[in-house]
């Protein structure tokens, strides 16, 4: 992997980052909380999207860098074999699993 070159442009202090982005990030955090409340209030069962979402949330508080990359990876199809047929054109944002992908591609 390419070495990070953090010295190229980023000269902001942590205080400056917080001044610039804290309120925006806070707003997004509350949106996530409200989304989870909304989903919990609604009738019906969880599906793979909500389970994946919760699993991705665990990446946020692990204290390890590259959170954005790890969240994206946790929501991604990790396999390498092309599916047989593209049954539909739209991705949904979370990977349902190898078995489901195979069944969908047949349909």
């Amino acid at each position: 992997m390419l070495a990070a070159v953090g010295s190229f442009l980023n000269s902001m202090t942590r205080r400056q980052v917080l001044d610039l982005y804290f309120v925006e990030a806070r707003s997004k955090l509350v949106d996530v909380a409200a989304f989870l409340d909304r989903a919990q209030r609604a009738d019906g069962a969880d599906d793979f999207r909500l389970r994946s979402f919760r699993a991705a949330l665990n990446q946020l508080n692990a204290g390890i860098p590259d959170r954005a990359r790890r969240v994206l990876e946790s929501l991604s199809d990790p396999t390498l074999k092309p599916i047989e047929v593209a049954g539909n054109k739209s991705a949904c944002g979370a990977w349902e699993g190898a078995k489901a992908t195979k069944m969908k591609s047949k349909g």
Binding site: L2, V5, L9, N10, A68, S76, D77, C92
Partner: protein, 269 residues
Amino acid sequence: MRFIEPHAHMVSRTTDDYLSLATAGCEAVCEPAFWAGFDRGSVEGFEDYFNQLTAHEPLRAAKFGLPHFTWLCLNPKEAEDLKLAAEVIEIIPKFLDRPNVLGIGEIGLNRNSRNELKAFEMQVDLAARYRQLILVHTPHLEDKLKGTRLIIDALKSDRRIAPERVIIDHVEEHTIALALDAGFWAGMTLYPESKCTAARAIDMIEAYGPERLWMNSACDWGVSVPLAVPRAALEMRRRGHSAAAVDRMLYGNPAKFLGQSPKFKLAAD
């Protein structure tokens, strides 16, 4: 501020958007061929579209002093019908000599199916045979990581393809290193709801450096912002980046990649 919009689907945008782009400092707009939101039913439908991209749209842009460039291909969302795909790919060469055509794109994958991959490889072969630049679309959301891996494997397996003549577009934090490490250019698409925000794009520039990176709006008929690129410039300035750094990212880098085509000329040239 000056900038190049290296990826915009202007056929889907209003004339007001051309005015906004020109007013904001846009000096060229580049339009890859893409999906119309529905599947075209015949090769003639694609022929009309390629004529629109190479004859009509440049005139529309010229009214605002904007050079308009384009890329031609069969997009991955219409690649499942391989017979039609082959017919469409067969007509592309007759358009390649038109003055605003920069290369083959945006080819790539959508759901990562076998036929999508075959159509992609057919068009990589087309680009190699006609010595064209390549602009690659990577899939959406959960399909992006796998699709990017498949795309890069296919490109690396064709020894005729020079990585520096290929841009892998729509990279995010989990795919940017795959593209850059393999020697390709990488594009970051600034979308309000998917792909990446300006803040994340600038994070990636800071983490990986400015080499072989550009930002684009990929504005189309969906939720998208034609002025996303100049807005990202404002975000860079808010973080304290110099005017020279902004100019490099918004103008210098796209000009460097696109300038590998002798047809890419800017007003200042």
